[in-house]
């Protein structure tokens, strides 16, 4: 059963948000195909990566719903944060290239493993990253650098995505959660879209008892989640 606190997030509002969000890659594919047909210069690689981005969004949404409905699917395992960040970066590379965003990986140090569902954690980071990649170039001062990064904090290891300007305040994120499905731009300060990727990441993390939070990394601003280190494995 879906817990009370998760029900609103996984309800029709989130589905509506995902549907609105999906219009963008589908529109890009339709217009790229039309442009290619007219000019006889179809950029098939771009069309493919756009279609992949759309598939990822819907797949991550489905994962969020499944993880919340069937907790049995949520098998926790020792996970290397560095390797999850690396793989998330690989998944986001083509989309970042399409948007002219320079995606960097910054892992400051060696970390112990964390207990998490690897697939869930990676899907959440990819979902969040895709949303930021689409939004950052449209800011008043366009941000063309995004860092996938991890650092230690008092409570564990923070993994997240960061850029040079403040993306969201904690209050804007809180308000955005309340506006999913009700507003066309629940995260209007940072995204011209429905921001579904952020809320899908939120839903996946919640299913793993994690939380998406506003976070800082060095001098950068972003969103991330705090992961608990696996102390048992540290003893081995």
């Amino acid at each position: 059963m879906v817990g009370d606190s998760l029900a609103p997030v996984l309800s029709q509002q989130l589905l509506l948000s995902v549907a609105e969000q999906l219009k963008i890659p589908l529109l890009q594919i339709a217009r790229q195909a039309e442009h290619g047909r007219i000019t006889n210069t179809a950029d098939l690689e771009r069309i493919q990566s756009t279609a992949d981005a759309a598939l990822r969004l819907i797949d991550n949404y489905a994962l969020g719903v499944r993880l919340n409905l069937e907790q049995d699917l949520l098998q926790l395992e020792p996970v290397s944060v560095s390797s999850v960040l690396y793989d998330s970066g690989q998944e986001l590379t083509a989309l970042a290239r399409n948007y002219g965003v320079d995606l960097e990986l910054h892992i400051g140090g060696r970390y112990s493993t964390v207990m998490a569902n690897r697939h869930g954690l990676q899907s959440a980071l990819v979902s969040l990253g895709a949303s930021l990649i689409e939004a950052l170039p449209a800011l008043e001062v366009p941000q063309l650098k995004l860092q996938l990064a991890a650092h230690r904090c008092r409570y564990g290891i923070v993994a997240g995505l960061y850029s040079e300007t403040e993306q969201l305040t904690a209050e804007a994120l809180r308000n955005g959660r309340k506006l999913v499905g009700a507003s066309r731009q629940p995260l209007g300060a940072v995204s011209h879209t429905a921001g579904a990727g952020v809320f899908v990441a939120d839903a996946i993390l919640k299913a793993m008892n994690l939380e998406l939070k506003v976070s800082r990394h060095n001098r950068l601003y972003g969103l991330g989640t705090v992961l608990q280190t696996n102390h048992q494995l540290q003893l081995i």
Binding site: R31, E34, H35, I38, A135, S191
Partner: protein, 127 residues
């Protein structure tokens, strides 16, 4: 025609720009309302194509500011947006009369050919 294209999505902006260029227009791409105002100030446009969903300020706010300058009162505007026109049913008069919107194109239902047709109609009307 020199067109300011206010489109926050970089990939869509690229496609629309290439299409308009191929049709013989010059295009300045802007992702935010503020950059579009600066662009208009530098090179007075013959037409503006606006998405309403922007970051920070909406396309409607942009249009109010744009129309507040005498030099740009007569510049024709096309709304080309993810927001369905049905959401403006009660305010279509305001869009046309106060903000000078010549055409409202709903993006998911507008092909590149339709966009060009709408721009061409502006061109004929201003000749």
């Amino acid at each position: 025609m020199h067109i300011i294209l206010l489109e926050p999505d970089r990939m869509l902006a690229d496609i629309y720009r290439q299409t308009l260029l191929a049709d013989g227009h010059t295009v300045t791409m802007c992702a935010s309302a503020q950059s579009a105002i600066f662009a208009a100030d530098e090179q007075c446009p013959d037409a503006v194509i606006v998405e309403l969903q922007l970051i920070g300020h909406s396309g409607i706010e942009f249009l109010y500011e744009f129309r507040s300058y005498n030099d740009w009162r007569a510049v024709p505007v096309i709304i080309h947006s993810q927001v369905p026109p049905a959401e403006f049913n009660g305010s279509s008069k305001l869009l046309r009369q106060e903000l000078g919107v010549k055409d409202y194109l709903y993006k998911p239902r507008t092909s590149l050919a339709s966009l060009l047709r709408s721009v061409t109609l502006l061109n004929t009307a201003t000749l």
